[in-house]
Structure formats: C-alpha cells, structure tokens
C-alpha cells in the first residue's frame, strides 16, 4: 500500500467512531463595525510599525515618490508603475539595486498592512524583497477596515506578500529589532483625492 493510501486509511480509521457532523462556525466577526476613519487608522498603524509615511494627491505623486527615494540611484520600477521615474523594470542582480518602488493591491487599516499581489506595478515577489529600500504606493480607496475584508477581496490564485512594517525580528530577548533580511526601510506613500 502506498504511503498515500496508508495515511488516508489511517485518517478514516481514526474517525470511524467520530461525530462527523459540521459544527456551526460563528462568523459575526465579519460584520464587526468598521473603525470611524479607516484611512487615518491605516496611517497611524503603518507608522506604529516603524514604516515611514507620506501622504499626497495624485498630482503630487511623482514628486513624493522621488523624495521618498532620496539618494537611491539604482531604482527598480516594475512595469505599469503609475509614475515615470526612469529606473529599470527588473534586474538579474537584485542585490545591486538600492531601492524598489511598487504599488499595492490592498491596505488593511486595523493592522497597518500592505498586500501585494504582484500584479501590474508590483513586479515579481523578489523585487520588493532584495533591495534595502521599498517605497510602496497605495491609494486611499484601496484601504479596507480589517483582515476579513482583505481576504474577501484578494485572489488566492495570485501569489501574495502581506507586509506590515519593515523586516523585523524579536528573536533576541523578544525585543523587536527592525531590519533583518527584507528591506530595512519601508516607505508608504498614501495617495488621497
């Protein structure tokens, strides 16, 4: 018998006498009242997790992103990124790039999270990982109240990266330290009307 058949048989054997009726799953959390001001909560929580935040209008976006990039020279700008910054769309040697700019698919207010689904303007997953600076542009109308709303919007068939603040660790005495393997600087540009 294959390991597969053995395991399936063992599962069925283990459940032979079990009650297999489905228990009701309480889903009231999905209707939890949203925070009064979703956008300012998002802004507050992003900063709380040590990301830098800039807010601007669409007209100001190019200038704000350039300011966020500071002195970075070698900048990755994925295809379909809304602003023309020069830079390259992708590179073989990502480690030699100083910074990356991306858009995002969703922002989550309660947790200060950005979700990238690596669609247009976001590039493949490694782009927003290897360079030391990540500038992420998210529109106010992309912010949802909490995790349930984000999960409902996102497409599981696309790879996703959920980002909450810069790379961090709590492995030394459980004190949070920013900056391990991912970008040590996360700059969020929040675009309002």
């Amino acid at each position: 018998m294959s390991a597969r058949d053995e395991i399936l048989a063992a599962v069925r054997g283990a459940l032979r006498d079990a009650d297999r009726a489905e228990a009701p799953v309480p889903r009231g959390y999905r209707g939890a009242p949203p925070p009064a001001d979703v956008v300012s909560l998002f802004a507050e929580r992003v900063v709380d997790y040590r990301a830098t935040l800039s807010r601007c209008t669409p007209a100001d976006l190019a200038r704000t992103v350039r300011a966020a990039l500071g002195s970075a020279e070698n900048v990755l700008v994925p295809e379909s990124f809304p602003v023309d910054l020069g830079g390259v769309a992708d590179a073989d040697d990502l480690d030699s790039c100083d910074a990356v700019v991306t858009t995002a698919a969703v922002g989550i207010a309660r947790t200060g999270t950005l979700v990238l689904d690596h669609g247009p303007g976001q590039g493949r997953r490694a782009l927003s990982l290897v360079p030391d600076v990540h500038v992420c542009v998210v529109r106010e109308d992309q912010i949802v109240p909490g995790v349930p709303e984000a999960v409902a919007l996102l497409d599981p068939d696309r790879p996703q990266t959920w980002i909450s603040g810069p790379s961090a660790t709590s492995d030394i005495e459980l004190n949070r330290v920013e900056g391990v393997h991912g970008p040590r600087t996360l700059h969020v540009v929040l675009v309002g009307p």
Binding site: L8, A32, H118, L129, A152, P156, W162, H181, G182
Partner: protein, 483 residues
C-alpha cells in the same frame, strides 16, 4: 533524555536561564495581552478558529484529497510521508535529483520534528537555517527551546559569543567589532545569510496553513528570510503536517487574525507569503509538497486528544505557562515544549513506551493559563488529565509502582466515610504527638513539621507541613452533637 522532573531540576539550577526566560516570557505576555485586548470579537474568533479546525479534522481525508488535486492542478508535485524517515528520504531524493549539496530553510516545526537537517547531513547535504533564532541554535550546536523563538534561552551576550566563534566556519564571519546590540547582531546575520540566499538552488519550508480548495500554502514570518527562501531558489520543497489544512481561502480571515496576536504579540507579523503552486516568471519553477503524518493520525484517533491537532503553533501557551517559564523548553525533550508539547508528544508517539514521554502529561500544575491563552481553544488541562489516565492504564497489570499503591490505598480509604474516620483517628494521634514535639510553630500558633522521611520528604524538602489537628472536622461534628 531524562524524564521531565530530572531535566527540570537541572534547568531550575541555572539562574542565568531562569533570568533569560522570565524576562522574555514577561515581555511577550504583556505584548500579547495588549493586542488581544484591542480586538472586541476575540472570543468569537477563538470559537471560529476552533470550529473550523474541528470541522476540517472531521473530514480530513476529503480535505487532503482536495488539497492534493488543487496542488497538482497548479503544477506542484505532492508526496505523502507516513513517518519521519519517509519524509526525510523524499526531501533528500529531490536534492539529489538536482545535484545540490546545500539547501536553505525557512523555520519549520515539521522539519525539526522529523530531524530533517540531521538526515540530510547524513547524505552529504547541508541545511542552512535562516531564521535568526534557528541560526543562533544551529551555529551554537544547541537545541531549540521554544516553538516561536528557539533561542529564547539565550541572551544577547551569549548570542554575540556564538556569532563571533562560529560564524566563520559556516560562511561569512561576524564583523570583528560586533557588539551585543540586537540591531548589530541582526545586521551580522543579514550579511552572513545573504550570500547563502543568493546562491541557493533549493529551499525547504513548512507551512502555517494549507488551503484545500485553492492549493494555497501560507508562511507567516517576520524577518524576510522566509520570503528569500520561498522566492529566490529554483526548487521549493514544503513539508506540511496533514493537520495544517483549512478548507477554504476565506477561512484564513480567522487565522491571520489569531496567529500574529497570539504568537509575537503583534497586530500583524511583518511578512506573510501565500502561493498557489507555480507562478510562471515569479519564484521557484519546481515545487514539491510533502504531506506528513508521523503520528498525527494516531492523535486523530484519540477522541479527547484530537483537539491538539487544532494547534497553529503560536506558542502563546508556552509564554503564559508558569512551568515553562521556570524550566525552559529543553526539559521537555522535544521540539514541542511547554503545555502543547506536554500533550502533543504523547499523542504523536503514544504512551506507555518510554518514561520520558510518559512524564510529560505530569509536567503541569493544571493551572489552566494555557487554555485561556490558546487561540483555538485547546483545553490543554483536559487533555493532560486524559493522557495521565492513559499513562496509568498503560502500566496496569505489571508490578505496581509505589504511586499506584498509594493511590489505590487512598481511594480505598476515601470511598467509605467509616474508613476515613478510622484513618483520621490515627492522624489525630500523630498530630497530638507532633503538637507537643513539633519543631516549627506556624504564625497563629499551630505546630509544624520540618523534616520527614521519603516520600514525604518530597514535600518537606522545601515546605513546612502543619501537624495534623488532634481532632478532625467530622470528629468535632460528632462530639459537639452538631449533627
């Protein structure tokens, strides 16, 4: 590995360890409490998490088949492993097919449980741990002592020493001027591991969740080492315990709230990666998923114990456990320490086989703090008591241990009030003598005993024992005619 009481005694004698643990668990407890208090619907989320997991376990065979089909449809190869040896063989075989002699690893409890690194080493393949704490443990030739923070027993000065002495042999050495500042230590790990990430051809991960209907695997992490492993190498092998399945993508809305707040005490961990098979042009173009049993179906067969398979490995129960706080994780002799380890190990391995495993269900005062903190409501005290009865039952029939004799005698006395009355008269006589000669006097005037022979010395080794009263309650009740 010695049984828990002996291993605990050694740990309790290590005052540095006690300080490190008290500091770390105290910190994380406060953080968890604060972020849990923010969520009004926390109790409902716990109920939802428990119900989803229970429903999944009740139809685990069907969900596993759905998961297998979804993964295959999206380009992944699915393997099944009955035990540790099979799982390790599968992973080593994939490495050999690709002629790699090193792999990078995302922190994963399943691969630790099966001893994958050691098994790969035997085949000439080096597995590099890339999580900071795992790196500290691996470089220090140490053992993990916590599910989430395997090097929780080490403080910053000890970590600096490990890096300075051991990093060079494994690759890029630590900087000469390395201090014990956590940010500098993290920076040294960044430099040391980056060259490994950039050259690795194969990565091994676990998964926090496996979504059956979409074939999505989820890895929750903080440092970005997971993202490196999941996206840079060409080949990715994920070893996934069969209990990690959740039925649908939408069920993640519960667990992605419960897990980060319960584990690191954050609203959300820095990075969560989800992927459903192969994405052309993005990440590994060859993927394997090893579905691991290794005792899980044994645990599933236990009608009381199966709730332990809800566990999402957050380690909240470790952080609130007064026993764990004092003994640390090594005393449990397993990669799964603390309250969850005290039930999971016996459930996975079975009781009545070795003394060490049999000692684990007793490594608890049954205070219940673990159940209160568990995000999926595993009633750990209930399972502990249940497993204790299995341990006792497994030893029935042989030569009775002194404990069994004592329990049988106590039960005989306590199942009949007349026998208890008789025993109390004996105690009262002893009490009269002790009240005259007892060395210690308790505040309030009662005499107490300082030293008794074994087994009572287990009590009086550290604690005075009040002398029994000359008259029991029931004797007083009869004498005064209160009845």
């Amino acid at each position: 590995m010695p049984a828990f009481p002996a291993a605990a005694r050694a740990a309790l004698a290590d005052s540095q360890l006690r300080r490190n643990l008290a500091h770390a668990t105290g910190t994380i407890r406060a953080k968890r409490a604060a972020v849990v208090a923010e969520v009004d619907e926390w109790e409902e989320l716990r109920l939802a998490g428990a119900a989803i997991k229970d429903n999944t376990l009740r139809h685990l065979d069907e969900h596993l088949l759905t998961l297998e089909a979804a993964l295959q449809e999206r380009g992944a190869t699915v393997h099944w492993a009955r035990d540790a040896a099979q799982a390790c063989e599968i992973v080593a075989g994939i490495a050999k097919n690709h002629h790699v002699d090193e792999v990078v690893k995302v922190k994963s409890m399943a691969t630790q449980e099966i001893g994958l690194n050691e098994a790969l080493a035997e085949q000439g393949i080096t597995a590099w741990e890339t999580d900071l704490a795992e790196l500290i443990v691996q470089l220090g030739d140490d053992l993990p002592s916590h599910i989430l923070v395997p090097a929780i027993h080490r403080n910053r000065a000890e970590i600096r020493e490990v890096f300075r002495r051991r990093m060079a042999a494994a690759g890029r050495p630590a900087p000469d001027d390395l201090t014990d500042e956590p940010a500098e230590l993290a920076g040294a790990a960044r430099l040391h591991l980056r060259e490994k990430f950039l050259r690795a051809k194969m990565a091994v991960s676990g998964a926090n969740f496996a979504v059956a209907d979409t074939g999505t695997l989820v890895v929750v992490e903080s440092e970005g080492n997971g993202r490196m492993c999941l996206t840079l190498p060409e080949v990715l092998v994920s070893v996934v315990g069969i209990e990690k399945v959740v039925p649908t993508w939408f069920d993640l809305d519960v667990f992605l709230q419960l897990l980060p707040r319960s584990s690191t005490g954050e609203r959300m961990n820095p990075y969560t990666s989800t992927w459903s098979g192969i994405t052309p042009g993005d990440g590994p173009q060859e993927m394997h998923v090893v579905l691991l049993d290794n005792g899980r179906t044994r645990a599933l067969a236990d009608s009381v114990g199966r709730q332990a398979l809800r566990c999402i490995r957050c380690s909240a129960c470790l952080n609130v456990c007064p026993v764990y706080e004092r003994t640390g994780g090594h005393a449990y002799g397993s990669v799964y320490p603390g309250p969850i380890g005290a039930i999971l190990n016996p459930l996975l391995k079975g009781v009545g086989v070795d003394e060490q495993t049999d000692s684990l269900p007793y490594a608890s005062s049954l205070c219940g703090a673990c159940f209160e903190a568990c995000p999926v409501r595993i009633d750990i005290p209930e399972v502990l008591v249940h497993l204790r009865s299995q341990v006792v039952d497994a030893h029935r029939g042989g030569a009775p241990k002194p404990e069994a004799v004592a329990m049988k005698s106590a039960a005989w006395v306590l199942s009949d009030a007349r026998r208890l009355t008789f025993a109390e008269r004996g105690m009262g006589a002893a009490g009269k003598a002790l009240n005259r000669f007892g060395r210690a006097v308790l505040p309030g005037g009662r005499r107490a005993v300082r030293r008794l022979p074994w087994p009572a010395s287990l009590w009086t080794g550290a604690r005075d024992l009040p002398a029994p009263p000359a008259e029991s309650f029931r004797a007083w009740w009869r004498r005064t005619g209160r009845r």
